[in-house]
Amino acid sequence: MSETTIVEPKEPAIAAYLRMERMPHVWCPECGIGTAVKCFATALERRKIDLDKASIVSGIGCSGRAAGYMNLDGFHTTHGRAIPFATGLKLSRPELFVTVFSGDGDLAGIGGNHFIHAARRNVDLLVILINNFTYGMTGGQNAPTTPLSAKSSTMPFGNFEPPFNLPQLAASAGAPYVARWTALHVRQLVWTIEEAIGKKGFRLIEVIAPCPTLYARLNKLGSGLDQMRFYHDNAEIRNGADPRDVAIEFQQKIICGKFVDIDRPSYHELMHAHYRKVLGDKYVPMKPEGGWISDRSGGTP
């Protein structure tokens, strides 16, 4: 047999998508966010996305730190405002591929208003929402997604506020693509993100992830591995399920899958079609390269 020299790589291929000089990252042991970041990076690689034109915007929170670890133009913005910030990026340079990567408290709590309006407008944003049922970074407070009866630092006797069913919220606001997986379903997550990358409009992918340090500890759910085992035993894949039926109750079944995948004109499509109809030749759309006016006498590219 011929000897082929195998060069043992020092880092995984995905390292090109990450800021390895900042490793190790801040996330706790057994936290699921790193896994979700990995899946996102893998999906980008498989779709051969032009990384120069990809931007990542995140908010505040554990999940919000993801922007700082990915080797893309990254923006770590204010709490809850990742989606409008990303809207500004996308609308002022339409050729960008913009991803919002943030947590349940950031996107559905303080950012709830922006979430529903972006879904309504169907702006071209890929939104990866890490749902660990808590505000992890600040110490495990009650979140709009915390299941009934679950304990948190601000509801020490258990939560009595009904939580959001995020797929239902997104779908009813108009999101054309809604999916949910857990941090265990790495392969499906990669395929779903890959598929979503190719689509337009407001695409929401909810990732149920373990929070061993706060949510699991405050509710005595064991380690992150115990939570992953729980997902293994209790996640049920139901592609095409009605979003109204996929609410999550405390330590009950988690329905995963792709729930919504419809064709709905995106914000840009609606805008162009409308202005062309109303203004005809007078309509001058924003160029895909953006609204930057260059100094023709200068040395800028």
Partner: protein, 385 residues
């Protein structure tokens, strides 16, 4: 560079201040506006909504002022000049993201057409009560530039200056109009595009591997890299180092705060613009801004007619405050008279800078209308005694 003719509506117009601000923005090269309706500023975005689709601009009415400001900061990172427009209540909502823009050193313009406050206040009537908020509205230590036009023509001119200052100093610039100037209709002359100088976004010429978003390289501000040009930079509202990465330690905090404040403080003399009238040899100086400056001008004339050596010092830039000039004048004049359509805000700065060397008389007006020039004149005469 010269302005892009697409946005310049050259000619002689009869416009109100709000429309003039919109035209100024378009002439300056602004191509992204995100706003939310609020009286008395809405006409600015209404004008822009009408003209932008024909000049390659993008206007979006966002769901609230927080989203508007966030979108403006985001849009600026693609190299696009961006602006939002609001009044008091919206200004309060935008504060967190103005702080973000200051921290990330993002050039942008925020127009505040001030109205009576606090809270919902007098939506359709004049006020100047946001002046201190302009300087201190967001938390933490940061610096901004604030400009106060007194007429629709000056609104057009200062809007262009606002964008130029924002680009030069990579800072949010506030155009502090008031409802009177905003809703006053006057002649506005818009020159041809090749007579309008604008400062373009200065992009880095460094190769990708060497670019650091906050490395000054001997300049006042770091060079910019647009999102989408392949620089793969990172920026954050957290205290960050030159690479834009979060670095939360004492040394970095000091460096960061010095960086975002120093560029304004050390260049204040280049930024500050005043309109002085007969301040040499004056005994009483009237310090005013915005619509009040026009009323004060009449008051000064009335006072001079009574033999008082009255002068007017109009703040074109309210922030950074002309501390040195006020101190200088304080040594020579008897008194400053400061009429404002608020309970006395900029007068506190005048007092601080005068350091007791001259009397400082505050003439507050709680809002809703302008001062009576005769009342100001009376105070000037009294101050001269």
């Amino acid at each position: 560079m010269k302005a892009d003719p697409a946005g310049v509506l050259t000619g002689v117009h009869y416009l109100d201040g709000d429309f003039a601000a919109g035209e100024g923005a378009m002439a300056a090269g602004c191509r992204f506006v995100a706003g939310y309706p609020i009286t008395p500023s809405t006409e600015v975005v209404e004008r822009i909504a009408r003209r932008f689709p024909t000049i390659g601009g993008m206007f979006i009415q966002m769901e609230d002022e927080l989203a508007s400001m966030a979108a403006v900061v985001g849009a600026s990172w693609t190299g696009t000049k961006s602006m939002t427009v609001t009044s008091g209540p919206g200004f309060s909502l935008m504060m967190e993201n103005i702080g973000l823009a200051a921290m990330m050193e993002t050039p942008c313009v925020i127009v505040n057409v001030q109205r009576g406050g606090p809270s919902t206040g007098l939506p359709t009537m004049v006020g100047q009560g946001d002046m201190m908020q302009a300087r201190w509205g967001s938390h933490g230590d940061y610096e901004i530039i604030a400009l106060c036009p007194q007429s629709p023509q000056e609104t057009f001119d200062l809007t262009i200056d606002a964008f130029n200052l924002a680009e030069t100093y990579r800072v949010p610039v506030l155009l502090m109009m008031d409802e009177c100037v905003g809703h006053m209709t006057e002649k506005v002359v818009i020159p041809p595009a090749d007579r309008i100088e604008i400062v373009p976004r200065r992009l880095t010429s460094k190769p990708r591997g060497e670019f650091k978003p906050y490395q000054l390289n001997g300049n006042i501000v770091a060079d910019f890299a647009r999102a989408g040009d392949g620089y793969r930079f990172h920026t954050t509202g957290l205290t960050h180092d030159e690479r834009g990465y979060p670095a939360m330690n004492v040394e970095c905090q000091e460096q960061c705060v010095r960086r975002v404040t120093g560029k304004i403080t050390h260049n204040a003399d280049k930024i500050i613009r005043l309109d002085e009238d007969m301040t040499d040899g004056a005994e009483v100086v009237v310090v005013s801004y915005g619509i009040t400056a026009r009323v004060a001008r009449m008051a000064v004339e009335l006072a001079r007619a009574e033999g008082v050596r009255a002068a007017s010092l109009r703040l074109i830039t309210a922030w950074p405050f002309p501390a040195a000039r006020i101190r200088q004048l304080a040594m020579r004049v008897k008194a400053f008279v400061v009429p404002e359509i608020n309970r006395g805000q900029m007068v506190l700065e005048v007092e601080r800078c005068a350091r007791g060397a001259a009397d400082v008389i505050s003439l507050p007006h709680y809002g809703g209308s302008v001062h009576d020039p005769a009342a100001i004149a009376q105070e000037i005469v009294k101050a001269a005694q």
